[in-house]
Amino acid sequence: MRILLLASLVPALAAALSTSNSFHEALTLHPLPDGKLSVLFEFTTYFASASTGSSLRQSHHYLTPPSLLLPLEHNNISELTVSFVAGQWDQRRSGEAGPLHYESGGGGGEVRGWLRSNGDKAESDRAWTAVTHALGGLFCAGLGPSDEGDIVRSFGDIYPPHRGSPSNLTHYLLPHPFLHLCTENLTPFLSLLPSKGLSGLSSLLAQPGTVFSWGFKSEGIEVIMPDETSPGRWRGWWEGVVDLVPERGGSRAFSLERIFGRGIPRPFPEAETSVLRLMVSEGMSMEPEAPKREGKWIDGRYREVAEWDLLEPGMQGRDVRFWWDGERDFVHPRTLRPPSISVLRTVTAPHASDGTFTIRFSNAGSESRRAVYSEVWPWWVKGWISEISLRVDGSDESRDDLLDSMSYHPSTPPTPSTTSLHLFLTLPAQSTLVVSIPFTKLTLKYTEHRPDAERGVEIPSGILNLLDTIGEPESVSSDVPLGVENARQTARRRIYTNRLLLDVPTPDFSMPYNVIIMSSTVMAVFFGLMQGALTRKWGWVELPKGEGRGKQGEDEPKAGVSVVEGGAQLAGSSS
C-alpha cells in the first residue's frame, strides 16, 4: 500500500520539479576572418533550490548535478565560476578581443566566486578552501590553493556579483596559470550535464579525439545559487577554434559532418530549447537555409545571426553545410582588422634577476576608453610601483596623466602570498598606450621550485576591465545596417592578456651536495687550525750551524718554533 502511494507520488513530484527546472543548449559557430571557426557549446540549466522543506536534511536533483551543487550549498556559496583555458587566443588575427564566451578566464585554470558571509573571515576562508578542494576532486585538477596565501581577495570590483550586494558577500579568486584542461579529459565536464554526452548537442561534444585537436580551448562552468526570490542558474561552456583551411590550402567550406563527423544528433528529451546558431560572415551561404535570421549586437558590432531549432521534427540526422560563394582557394588576408581594444603583455629586459612588464593597450576605436587594468603576481615578483611609466606608442613623452589612480595590495614575502595591482587607466583613441612596470625576482626557496624548474613559472594573465561598456541591447530598431560598430555596445567587460612564462633564477639542483662537501671541508680545516693553535706551546731551539736557510742561517742561530703537544715534556722550555 505504501509503495503504491509512493509510486503515485513520483510523477507528481517530477512534474513539480520540472516546472522550476529547465535545460537549454546552444551551439554557436563564428567564422573568424583568418579562415578559422570558433565553436561554442553552451548548456544552461535553471533550477530551484534542491533542498525540500522537510525537517530532514535531504535534497532532490532532477537536471542538476548533485556533486557540483551540494558542496556549493553546504559551503554558503552564492556564485561560482571555474574556467580552464588552453592554447592562445590570437587577438590580432581573430579580430575579436577574446573568445565568444565572455566568462572565459585568462590562461590556465581559475576559480572565482562570491561567498555569503556573516563577517567571520576564518569561517569564510575555510568554506572557500573546502569548495575549491571539492571542485578539484570533481574536475581532476589541483584546483585548491597550494597555500592559503595564493587566494586573491581584491578582485570583487572586477567580477561584480550577479545577485545580492557585495556588502554581505566575500569575493575569492584563485588563479592557477599552469593548469590545463583537466589533463585533456572531457568526462568531468560531460558528467555534470543532464544529457551526459549521450544525446542532444552534448553528444557532438563527447568526442575527445576531435575536440582536443582544435586550437584555443576554453572550458568552464558558472553557477549562480538560488535564493528565496529567484531560481538558480548553472551554465557550462566549451569553446574551441577549428582551422577551416586544409593543411595544404583549399576552400573554407564546412559542415557539421566535416567538423564533428556526424549530423544533427538525437534530441535530448528534457531539453527545453536546442539551437544551432551561426554568426553569418560576408558572402556566406548555408544549406538548409536557416528558418530565422536576425540582427543582434554582439561584442560591439551589429551582426546577422542565423538560427536553427534542432528540436524540430525532421532535423535529426541531417547535415548543415556552409560555404562562401565562389570560393575555391581561400586566400589569407594580408591585413586583418584588429579588435577595438587589444592587449599584449611581454617581459622586456628579462635578466635572471630583473625584468619589466610591458603592457601595450591598443585602442583602435575613435573614442577614448576608461578601464581598470589588474595584475596578480606571486610573492617573488616584486614590482617597483613608483617606477611605473606610461607613454603612447610613437613618442617618448611620459603620459602619467593617463593613469588616474591605482590600488596596490602588496604581498608579504617570504610567506606565500600574492601581490595584486589595479591601475585605473584612460586609453586614448586610435593609439597604443604602453605601460611599463619594472620588477625584481626575489629568490625562491629551494623547496619552492616547481618540477621542471628550468621551464620558468607561468604567471596569471592580466585583466583589462572596461568601465564604459553599455551592454548588448536586445531590442534594436530595424534600420541599423549590418556590420555597424560601436565598441561600447558589448557585454564583454573583461579582456585578458596573453599568457606569460617568467624565467626564474634556478639553482643547479646538484649544488646542495657541493655546498655540503665544501662547507664540511672548510669546517675540518678550521678545526685543525684552531686545535693546533690551542694546544701548541712556544719555545726556543738552536739550529745547527751551516744548516737551515743556507747563507742566511748564520745570522739567525735561534728560531721560534712550535712544539706540538709538548706542554708536559717541555716543562722548563718557555722563556
Binding site: 583568418d34 579562415g35 588552453a86 592554447g87 592562445q88 590570437d90 588575427r93 590562461g107 585537436s213 582544435w214 586550437g215 584555443f216 577554434v241 582551422d243 583551411v245 586544409p246 593543411e247 595544404r248 586566400v331 589569407h332 588576408p333 594580408r334 591585413t335 599584449l344 603583455r345 611581454t346 617581459v347 622586456t348 629586459a349 628579462p350 610591458t358 621542471d452 624548474a453 628550468e454 621551464r455 620558468g456 607561468e458 596573453n498 599568457r499 606569460l500 612564462l501 624565467d503 643547479d508 726556543w540 731551539v541 738552536e542 739550529l543 745547527p544 744548516e547 737551515g548 736557510r549 743556507g550 742561517g553 728560531a559 718554533v561 712544539v563 709538548g566 715534556q569 717541555l570 722550555s573
Partner: protein
C-alpha cells in the same frame, strides 16, 4: 718517534737545546728549510716542467684516447624518432619562392622585405618588420604561446654570397608549419638583412614584440644550388657554445632523418687521412672562432640572449642533396626541440669537438689550461712589496679601462711614455701580474678554452721563465744590499 729520540745527539746542557727533543726539533727545522730552499732554487725548472706538460697535453687533444662518443643527454629530445611530413610538394613551393627571390635578389631591403612579409601573410602567418629584419609568427593550434622556437635565414650567407635558397627554405617552412597541430611551441621565422645585423636587430626588438620565451633556434645558410654535406657551425659570440645536445641532435637528425652526412665547420673528415691531423684541423677551426670571440655563423648573435642555436651550412656542391634533405632535417630537428619541457640545462656547455660523433669532455682538456695557469701563478709567488706593486698596477688598469670605454687598443700606446717602476717595485708588480693571469687563465678556460690558451700563449711562458730567473738573481742582489 721514540727511535728518533734515541738516535738524537746528546743534548748540550749549556746551550739552548738542553733536551733531546730540542735537538730533534732543530734537525727537523733545518731539514725543512733545506727542502724549501731547494724548491725555491728550482722554481724555473718546475715552471718549465708544468709548461711542457701543459703543452704536451694540448698537443695530445687530437689523440683519440682523450675523446668520448657523443650521446644525447636530454631524454626528451628523442632525435629522428618522428614521422616527417615535409615532401616534394613543399620542395616545389620552395623552388617557386626561389624563382621569385632570384628576381628581386638585387632589390633594396624594403622591396625584398615587403615580398617576404607578404609571402608569409599569404601563408596565413602574422608577419612584420623591424628596421633590418622581416619576421613571421607561426602559432600552431595547440601551442600556448609561452615558449617559442626561432628559425632564421639571413640574406647574406656566411661565405659572403647571397643566401637565397636559405630564405626560400624559410618561406616554404612558414607555409609548411601552418595548420599542423602536433606542435607545442610557437615559431618565429626571421629573415635578417645582411649577415649578422638583421638578426641582431630583431633580437633587440624581440621582447617587445613577442611574449614567448626562446630556448632553442636554428639558422639556415644555403648559398649554393645543391649540397653534399651539412656543415654545423656552433660557436657563438664571445666563445659561448650552445648546449651540446643541440649539436648532437642536429647531427643525428641530419644523418638518420635527412640522409645527409655532416661536418663540423665544413672541415673534411675523410677517414682515409690521419685521424690526428683531421682532429687537429677541427680544433684549429674551432680555436680560430672562439679564441677571438667571433661567431662562426649568424646563429652566434643569439648566444648572448641565452638561446642554444647552430647554423646549418649547406656546403655548396654538385649534389646530391637539396631542399628535400634540408627540409626534412629542419622538420625533424624542430620536432625534437618541440619535445623539450624545460630549457636545456645539463652541464653540457663545455666541450671540444674533434670529429663528428666524438667530443672531448671538459675534464679531459681543462688540465692543459690549469697546468699553464699554475706555471704562471708560481712565477708570481716572490712578491717583496705587494703595496708598491699594486700601486704601479693601477695605471695599467686605468689604461685598460679607458681603452675598453673608447673601444680601441691604441690607448695602450700611452704606456710607452709613462714612467716605469724600478727595482723591487718592478718585481712586485710583475709578480702580481703573474698571480692575476695565473688565476684568470684556468677560470677563463672553463668558459672559453681557446681564448684562455691564446692568453697563455701571449703571456709566452718560455720567455717568462728566463725573465723570472733573471728577476730572481736581481732580487737576491737587491736583498743582499
Amino acid at each position: 718517534m721514540l727511535r728518533r729520540f734515541r738516535r738524537a745527539q746528546p743534548p748540550e746542557l749549556t746551550s739552548i737545546n738542553y733536551t733531546p727533543e730540542h735537538v730533534a726539533l732543530a734537525k727537523t727545522i733545518a731539514r725543512r728549510r733545506r727542502i724549501v730552499s731547494a724548491i725555491a732554487r728550482s722554481i724555473p725548472l718546475i715552471r718549465l716542467l708544468l709548461v711542457s706538460v701543459g703543452i704536451s697535453w694540448l698537443l695530445a687533444l687530437p689523440y683519440e684516447g682523450l675523446w668520448k662518443e657523443t650521446y644525447v643527454d636530454e631524454h626528451a629530445i628523442q632525435p629522428a624518432q618522428v614521422t616527417m611530413y615535409f615532401d616534394w610538394a613543399n620542395v616545389h613551393r620552395a623552388d617557386r619562392y626561389l624563382d621569385e627571390l632570384e628576381r628581386i635578389a638585387n632589390a633594396t631591403f624594403e622591396e625584398r622585405s615587403s615580398y617576404t612579409a607578404s609571402t608569409f601573410a599569404d601563408a596565413g602567418l602574422s608577419s612584420g618588420n623591424t628596421s633590418h629584419a622581416t619576421f613571421a609568427h607561426v602559432a600552431p593550434p595547440r601551442s600556448a604561446g609561452t615558449e617559442t622556437i626561432l628559425v632564421s635565414a639571413n640574406w647574406i650567407s656566411r661565405d659572403g654570397g647571397p643566401n637565397l635558397r636559405g630564405v626560400a627554405m624559410l618561406l616554404a617552412l612558414g607555409d609548411f608549419l601552418r595548420g599542423q597541430n602536433h606542435w607545442a611551441f610557437d615559431f618565429v621565422l626571421v629573415v635578417g638583412d645582411s649577415y649578422l645585423t638583421g638578426l641582431e636587430d630583431f633580437m633587440r626588438n624581440y621582447h617587445s614584440l613577442f611574449p614567448g620565451v626562446l630556448w632553442t633556434a636554428l639558422n639556415i645558410d644555403y648559398p649554393g644550388h645543391s649540397f653534399s654535406h651539412l656543415g654545423l657551425f656552433y660557436e657563438g659570440v664571445n666563445g659561448r657554445l650552445p648546449n651540446q645536445d643541440v649539436v648532437n641532435t642536429v647531427a643525428h637528425v641530419a644523418r638518420y632523418a635527412g640522409g645527409s652526412p655532416i661536418r663540423y665547420h665544413d672541415v673534411d673528415a675523410d677517414q682515409a687521412r690521419s685521424g690526428y691531423l683531421v682532429a687537429a684541423k677541427h680544433l684549429l677551426a674551432h680555436f680560430s672562432f672562439a679564441a677571438l670571440g667571433r661567431p662562426s655563423g649568424a646563429h652566434g648573435v643569439l648566444a648572448r640572449h641565452r638561446i642554444d642555436a647552430v647554423t646549418l651550412y649547406c656546403s655548396p656542391a654538385e649534389g646530391p642533396h637539396g631542399f628535400h634533405t634540408l627540409g626534412r632535417t629542419l622538420e625533424s630537428t624542430l620536432r625534437s626541440y618541440n619535445n623539450l619541457l624545460e630549457r636545456l640545462h645539463a652541464s653540457y656547455f663545455f666541450y671540444l669537438l674533434p670529429r663528428p660523433d666524438r667530443f672531448i669532455p671538459v675534464g679531459h682538456y681543462l688540465p692543459a689550461a690549469v697546468l699553464l695557469g699554475a706555471s704562471i701563478t708560481i712565477g708570481g709567488f716572490d712578491c717583496q712589496e705587494p703595496l708598491a706593486g699594486l700601486l704601479w698596477l693601477v695605471p695599467a688598469f686605468v689604461i685598460g679601462y679607458i681603452g675598453w670605454i673608447l673601444q680601441t687598443p691604441l690607448v695602450s700606446l700611452v704606456a710607452l711614455v709613462l714612467p716605469r717602476p724600478q727595482g723591487n717595485a718592478r718585481h712586485s708588480m710583475s709578480a702580481l701580474a703573474h698571480l692575476l693571469y695565473g688565476a684568470l687563465i684556468p677560470t677563463l678556460a672553463m668558459v672559453n678554452f681557446p681564448q684562455a690558451i691564446l692568453l697563455a700563449t701571449i703571456g709566452s711562458p718560455g720567455t717568462d721563465i728566463i725573465d723570472s730567473a733573471s728577476w730572481r738573481a736581481e732580487g737576491t742582489v737587491v736583498r743582499d744590499r
